[in-house]
């Protein structure tokens, strides 16, 4: 995996070597194996390389003078061997074995539609010197990041926003709307990033910009669509097809010129991908997991069981609250967005373990919950719908207690409070965003921590109206499950799971993660899977569980799903917790006033509540982590004041 960057100068502006080098150096963690810069008149491309395929020949930026094309590319095209064969048959000549060169030839042959043929995870930019234009593309699911901006007479892009912010002519300011959106949705809504003036290219989109068209043209080339197919095959056919698709995705994703390892959480998804790797490869396989000192979060028993069953060489990093607090500033620096949970921190420690073990590629089970219907929010929605059809029932809401056995506060609630918290009513069910409203409203209640200055900038802002404006026309015609899946897949997954928790945590230590469940063939399969096979009764990921039979231990298939969680505020403070040195400073009234993002009085009371060891609910924990990470982010990226503009 790599870090990319580039600048296109308008008018007389020309990018220079130093600017590009600066953009690359700040992303060196993504590509510690080498770097390169390409300059051609108005354009400059930069690249930090993590060499995985064709270590000798795959240097970047790659320039093919006879075509007039140059590329800087982050990611992998897993079907590059097949594409290369087809291009050879069409007369293309290759000088390397790399997938990078395949993209260039594919673009030369097909233009922007070349991405339709690509199976992989990518963010790249191609400079077409003959047309004097740049073509940028990002993979379908949003695995690899891509930021861009137009400022001071330049179009700039990079894998990470910090590369753009390293340039003196890029302004630095926290975007108030993005901050508020993060508190509600856990991430800014695309195309916003947390930095004002810097946008993300949404997943499945291409961008074209040139000297004759300075305003970027952004077009989707792929979107998930939930369409019912006629002639529903029998269930067994679906299980077979799913197994075969995941096996093929895993096979393709094992393509690398370096050893490949795997994450093993102890849950269904990573157990399946690890089992498929073992079937595909007979060499020793290294697997990695996080264990927690706190048994409420720990899954080590299942991890050991699967590792023993599949015969892997397993290693784990044990994570305590103190560990989370210690690395948290680094986590925020790499995540480069506020986070409302500490869950990325253990993954930061995990990728370090992988790197220390000598590996730089891992396969993981990420994506299965979105694509095949695994999250608790799907079950919760089903139960809420069931309850809302007969709101007077005092028996139906008991199912909500069964859903969250690990949440003590839910267990203690009376039926009438349960109905209120989960919004059980015949009216609520009519809302097309029914599945996510309680979650988003919970987050929205924390907007009270924002400063008056930020709130003033939010005047007229309506988060739900903004969310609705981003939905496709057919959204309301889909069934309730597909709607909930769409929201998870399109927003939370790229906005938080794959970025703050995925790409950034892995690449903080130069580790590339690959996701068989996010092969676009698996995604498209998931979108046409009948509802009864996504969730059967209250059995989540039913099709995957059936497809997994014989691959992994039955105990893992049958176990209750444990959401991946980590201790939040309790990692930083409490009566018996040694606070990290930075906490009191970063959340001091003085520093809060300096950043002007939060209401100091409210934050001081929140900190006091956490320090006293009073019970903090989900909302308080999210506020604590959200405020702390935002403060750290602002201080790290903006300096002493959030309005610094160079």
């Amino acid at each position: 995996m790599c870090g990319i960057a580039g600048l296109l100068g308008y008018g007389t502006n020309r990018p220079n070597y130093d600017s590009l080098l600066r953009m690359i150096v700040v992303q060196k963690h993504r590509g510690p194996d080498g770097h390169g810069v390409f300059l051609d008149g108005p354009v400059g491309l930069g690249h930090a390389r993590l060499s995985i395929i064709d270590p000798e020949g795959g240097h970047q930026p790659m320039h093919l003078p006879e075509t007039g094309l140059a590329i800087t590319f982050n990611g992998e095209i897993f079907n590059y061997i097949e594409l290369r064969e087809e291009l050879l048959a069409k007369g293309h000549k290759f000088v390397t074995r790399s997938d990078t060169e395949v993209i260039l030839h594919l673009y030369q042959e097909y233009g922007p539609t070349c991405v339709d043929q690509m199976n992989g995870q990518w963010a790249f930019a191609i400079w077409d010197s003959r047309r004097q234009s740049l073509f940028l593309s990002r993979d379908r699911a949003g695995i690899r990041p891509l930021y861009y901006t137009i400022q001071s007479g330049f179009f700039g892009f990079a894998s990470e926003a910090k590369a753009l912010l390293s340039l003196p002519f890029i302004s630095r300011k926290i975007d108030s709307h993005a901050l508020a959106e993060t508190f509600v949705f856990w991430h800014p809504l695309p195309p916003r990033s947390i930095f004002e003036g810097i946008s993300v290219l949404p997943p499945g989109h291409n961008l074209a910009v040139g000297l004759d068209r300075p305003k970027p043209e952004i077009r989707p080339y792929w979107q998930i669509r939930f369409e019912k197919k006629n002639g529903d095959p029998d269930d067994e056919h679906y299980f077979m097809e799913l197994k075969s698709l995941i096996a093929d995705a895993t096979r393709l994703m094992l393509r690398a010129d370096v050893p490949v390892g795997a994450y093993l959480s102890g849950g269904l998804d990573s157990s399946v991908t690890t089992a498929l790797i073992r079937k595909e490869e007979h060499a020793a396989l290294k697997t990695f997991s996080v264990t927690f000192a706190d048994p409420r979060f720990d899954e080590s028993e299942y991890q050991r069981e699967v590792a023993a069953y599949l015969g892997t060489d397993h290693a784990a990093v044990n994570c305590s609250g103190g560990d989370i607090a210690r690395v948290f500033p680094n986590v925020v620096w790499h995540a480069e967005q506020p986070i409302v949970r500490t869950a990325p921190a253990p993954l930061f420690l995990l990728s370090r373990l992988v790197r220390d073990s000598g590996l730089k590629v891992v396969l993981t089970g990420e994506g299965a919950d979105e694509v095949l219907g695994g999250y608790d929010i799907f079950k919760e929605t089903k139960i809420r719908r069931f309850c809302s059809r007969y709101p007077e029932s005092n028996w139906r809401p008991l199912l909500l207690k069964r859903l969250y056995p690990y949440m003590e506060n839910i267990q203690k609630q009376s039926i009438s409070y349960l109905k209120a918290f989960f919004q059980i009513s015949q009216q609520a069910i009519l809302n097309p965003l029914f599945s996510h409203i309680p979650r988003w409203e919970l987050g929205a209640n924390n907007l009270l921590f924002l400063s008056e200055e930020v709130m003033a900038e939010l005047e007229g802002w309506d988060p739900l109206a903004k969310m609705k404006s981003l939905l496709p026309e057919e959204f309301e015609s889909w069934d309730w499950f597909s709607r909930a899946q769409y929201l998870e897949f399109t927003f939370l997954m790229p906005g938080y799971i794959l970025s703050a928790q995925g790409d950034r945590m892995a690449l903080a230590h130069g580790v590339e993660s690959r996701f068989p469940f996010l092969d676009h063939r698996v995604i498209e399969f998931g979108a046409r899977l009948p509802l009864r096979l996504r969730m059967n009764g209250l059995v989540e990921k039913y099709a995957l569980k059936r497809a997994a039979r014989g691959l992994i231990p039955e105990s893992v298939i049958k176990r209750t799903k444990q959401p991946y969680r980590a201790p939040d505020a309790a990692s930083f403070t409490g009566p018996s917790v040694i606070e990290p040195e930075y906490l009191a400073d970063v959340l001091s009234e003085e520093r809060l006033k300096a950043q002007r993002l939060f209401n100091p009085k409210a934050v001081v009371l929140l900190l006091q509540k956490a320090r006293q060891g009073r019970v903090l609910g989900v909302r308080d924990n999210m506020a604590f982590v959200g405020v702390l990470s935002s403060q750290l982010l602002a201080e790290q990226f903006l300096g002493a004041s959030r309005h610094i503009t160079n």
Binding site: N409, Y417, V618, D620
Partner: protein
């Protein structure tokens, strides 16, 4: 302790604990649920406060919005419970 004393005490607790010092114009009759002030943990915290501040025990079947979903309701509930002591 009068009802207005109880209201003042409850109001202070709710504003400090759930609104972190910002009263947002909270009125005693307003629903804590509808205003998004109280979550599942908040209910437990509120009961804990009521029990320790007013020396009463809240029975399981009494933990319902009818008794607790506004400062007014909670104050009236406390008054009833104290009258039963």
């Amino acid at each position: 302790m009068t009802k207005s004393d109880i209201i003042v005490s409850l109001q202070k607790f709710v504003i400090e604990t759930f609104l972190f010092g910002q009263d947002k114009g909270l009125k005693p009759e307003e629903s804590l649920l509808k205003k998004g002030i109280i979550d599942s943990t908040g209910v437990i915290e509120l009961i804990d406060f009521i029990e320790s501040a007013f020396h009463i025990i809240v029975d399981d079947e009494e933990i319902v919005p009818e008794n607790l979903d506004s400062i007014d309701r909670a104050a009236a509930f406390v008054m009833r419970k104290r009258a039963d002591l």
